[in-house]
């Protein structure tokens, strides 16, 4: 019983982190699906979302507004607004001019952008870790007193529910709306979509904006869940999310969700049953193994090499 509770607790921990990874992974997977590049700066967009949310929350507190739903909604809107604008601007400035050139060129441009954004935040807000106020506290406890108690906090529930809502909305959007259909068309064949009268530039911009908005949601949620932000924490989270995207099959949205959850669980089980020191080693090794043996990921379509 004890062990089962312990296992379930680690499972919950993993699922929480995993669903947030999935939100970030969407941004990688959609961009890759459409223009075939790794948006290295996506982790930084997530970090910027978290910072903006914190700035909004602190600002509201200073104004004396403390009604929780309002605070959360305003923080969410601010984070999405700033992150999406940043995502749009990054695509415009750093990726559009180099689109269609040799594969390495957009990638190096993206790495440059990632370094730039990290240091932009570092210079603007300093390098210190800034704490998030605790907004959602408490939760359910399972198990008898005196022994190991499994806890499921309201914060964790919030993360699950929000992720679920975001994913449902996104899938409906992609499958039903006009823009969503255009997105799918562009990811199938960019040139052909262009010929058929789809404004591909607009669709690519839309992809970046959607990805950035979801990253901002993840930024707010994880910022509150972890408790602090610093300018460097986007980079490693970005790498993890990218791993999740690859794991699930890059280009596939359900794949990103699945990959995120698997990665989250793998990480929490590693720290739970082995040692936290090797958490990152495990996720990187997982990435390398997947890329070596099943580069298309779990739910990805095999990519045909075009000659």
């Amino acid at each position: 019983m004890q062990d089962l509770l312990y296992f379930s607790q680690q499972l919950i921990n993993g699922l929480t982190i995993g669903s947030a990874y999935a939100l970030i992974a969407i941004g990688y997977t959609m961009v890759y699906g459409i223009i075939g590049m790794i948006n290295f700066a996506h982790g930084e967009i997530y970090m910027i979302g978290a910072y903006t949310a914190l700035i909004a929350i602190t600002g509201l507190t200073a104004l004396g507004i403390a009604w929780l739903p309002l605070v959360l909604v305003v923080a969410l809107v601010c984070a999405i607004l700033v992150s999406s604008s940043m995502g749009w601007a990054v695509e415009r400035v750093a990726y559009r001019p180099v689109r269609g050139r040799h594969r390495l060129i957009p990638l190096i441009s993206a790495i440059g952008m990632s370094i730039f954004l990290q240091n932009y935040m570092h210079l603007a807000q300093g390098s210190r870790n800034v704490g998030f106020p605790i907004l959602i506290e408490g939760g359910f406890n399972f198990g008898s007193d005196g022994a190991f108690q499994m806890s499921l906090s309201y914060m964790q529930i919030t993360i699950f529910v929000t992720t679920l809502i975001c994913m449902t909305v996104l899938s409906t959007f992609i499958s039903r709306s006009r823009t969503g259909r255009a997105c799918r068309a562009v990811s199938q064949d960019l040139g052909m979509a262009n010929l058929l009268g789809i404004d591909t530039n607009r669709i690519i911009s839309a992809t970046f904006i959607i990805g950035a908005a979801l990253a901002a949601v993840a930024g707010l949620l994880l910022g509150m869940y972890y408790g602090s932000v610093d300018p460097l924490f986007g980079f490693i989270a970005g790498l993890k999310a990218f791993t999740a995207a690859v794991l699930g099959g890059i280009g596939s949205i359900p794949g990103a969700m699945l990959g995120g959850l698997i990665l989250g669980i793998a990480e929490s089980m590693t720290s739970g049953y082995l040692s936290g020191e090797y958490k990152d080693v495990i996720s990187f090794s997982l990435l390398i193994l997947i890329l070596l043996f099943k580069p298309t990921g779990l739910l990805g379509k095999p990519e045909v090499e075009k000659i």
Binding site: Y6, Q9, S127, N129, V130, G131, Y226, S228, K279
Partner: protein, 371 residues
């Protein structure tokens, strides 16, 4: 901006000093090497403000053997590579006494060069035992060692008769060093160590670790490392209803931990050097810092002050500016400094450096724990 102005002023001061070198008043250069930029620049600020203040006050009191001290400042960004560059630049500039560096991993490679080139170094902040363990003649420090702080913390924990203790560290030189010392002390005292494990420095998600601590049913957790990670651990532990008392070294004992952990910081135990700035005999000095709108309570401000003072008094005692004779004088005598009476052993460590256990509160204040 202000920083730049400061740098400009010191640069001008330094060049004026160089121009005046040929003039009647000879000058003694004291190098101050530490991080002015980079992620740990806030600790570097403590070091520089302490050392500058000491130089100013010593000069105002007539200098050393009739000569003025001049600060020559260097930025090593706490990067071992840049520290070596800085050390060579110091040799170049003919500096014979250095107050620095801050990070142990910078101090260690730099001290090789200083020892080779006959430069006296006093580090106000590096706590790694390895630095003074190499039989060097010219390497000193004005701060305690990880191996001194660990036993204090471990001893205190053992005296509380804990059932099970977990020892966690951040896999950095400082954190792991102290954590190892704590573990060894606890083991010798016969306390059961439930786990000894590292985390990733800079990590954010400690929910698995907290769950593990809960499962192990520990009643005390020692954390070796700095405040950003411990702040998060405390916060996440509180969210998960982990009922254990945490303890950490001086690296966690600053107000930033309250901004992260909030209420969860209440009851945290911290080993700190005694609050030098609250001592009666340092009243003047604290007032002088207040005049300049600087805060003397940081852990490295007064140790840096003391380091400069030791250089000055060492020269006086030796009656010579030769670093080897000054080193001998430092070992032979005892000195009254703002951080207490300093006496050196052969290795260059202080014979006694006191650590006190404090209880930390959620409003950022601390109270000493009677033992």
């Amino acid at each position: 901006m202000q920083n730049n102005v400061k740098k400009l002023v010191t640069a001008i001061a330094a060049s004026v000093a160089l121009l005046g070198a040929g003039a009647a008043v000879a000058e003694i250069k004291v190098g101050i090497a530490g991080p002015m930029t980079g992620p740990v620049a806030q600790y570097g600020d403590m070091q520089f403000s302490g050392a500058r203040m000491a130089i100013e006050r010593i000069n105002a009191a007539g200098g050393v053997m009739g000569e003025n001290l001049v600060a020559v400042e260097y930025d090593d960004v706490c990067d071992p590579k840049q520290a070596v560059t800085v050390a060579n630049a110091l040799v170049n500039d003919g500096v014979k006494y250095v107050v620095g560096h801050l990070c142990s991993s910078s101090t260690q490679p730099a001290s090789d060069i200083y020892e080779d080139e006959g430069i006296l170094m006093i580090t106000p902040a590096s706590t790694s035992p390895g630095i003074t363990a190499r039989g060097y003649e010219l390497v000193f420090r004005t701060i305690g060692l990880d191996s001194m702080q660990g036993p204090v913390a471990g001893g205190y924990l053992a005296s509380l008769n804990p059932k099970k203790v977990a020892v966690i560290h951040d896999k950095q030189q400082y954190g792991e060093g102290i954590a190892t010392a704590v573990r060894d002390t606890l083991k010798d005292a016969g306390v059961e160590i439930a786990m000894f494990e590292g985390i990733t420095a800079g990590g954010k998600d400690f929910s698995s670790l907290v769950t593990k601590l809960k499962q192990a049913q520990v009643d005390y957790v020692y954390y070796g490392g700095y405040h950003p990670e411990l702040g998060l651990i405390l916060r996440q532990a509180r969210q998960a209803d982990l009922d254990a008392v945490f303890m950490g070294p001086e690296g966690v004992g600053n107000k930033d931990i309250n901004t992260i952990a909030g209420e969860a910081a209440e009851g945290l135990l911290v080993t700190l050097p005694p609050a030098f700035d609250e001592k009666e005999e340092n009243k003047d000095l604290v007032a002088a810092f207040a005049d300049k709108d600087q805060d003397p309570s940081g852990p490295f401000v007064l140790t840096s002050y003391a380091a400069v003072q030791l250089v000055a008094e060492g020269i006086e005692k030796a009656g010579s500016k030769d670093p080897f004779e000054v080193a001998a004088a430092l070992r032979a005598n005892s000195f009254e400094t703002p951080i207490g009476t300093v006496q050196y052993d052969k290795a260059g460590d202080m014979k006694s450096f006191e650590f006190i256990v404090y209880e930390w509160h959620s409003d950022g204040s601390k109270t000493p724990v009677s033992n």
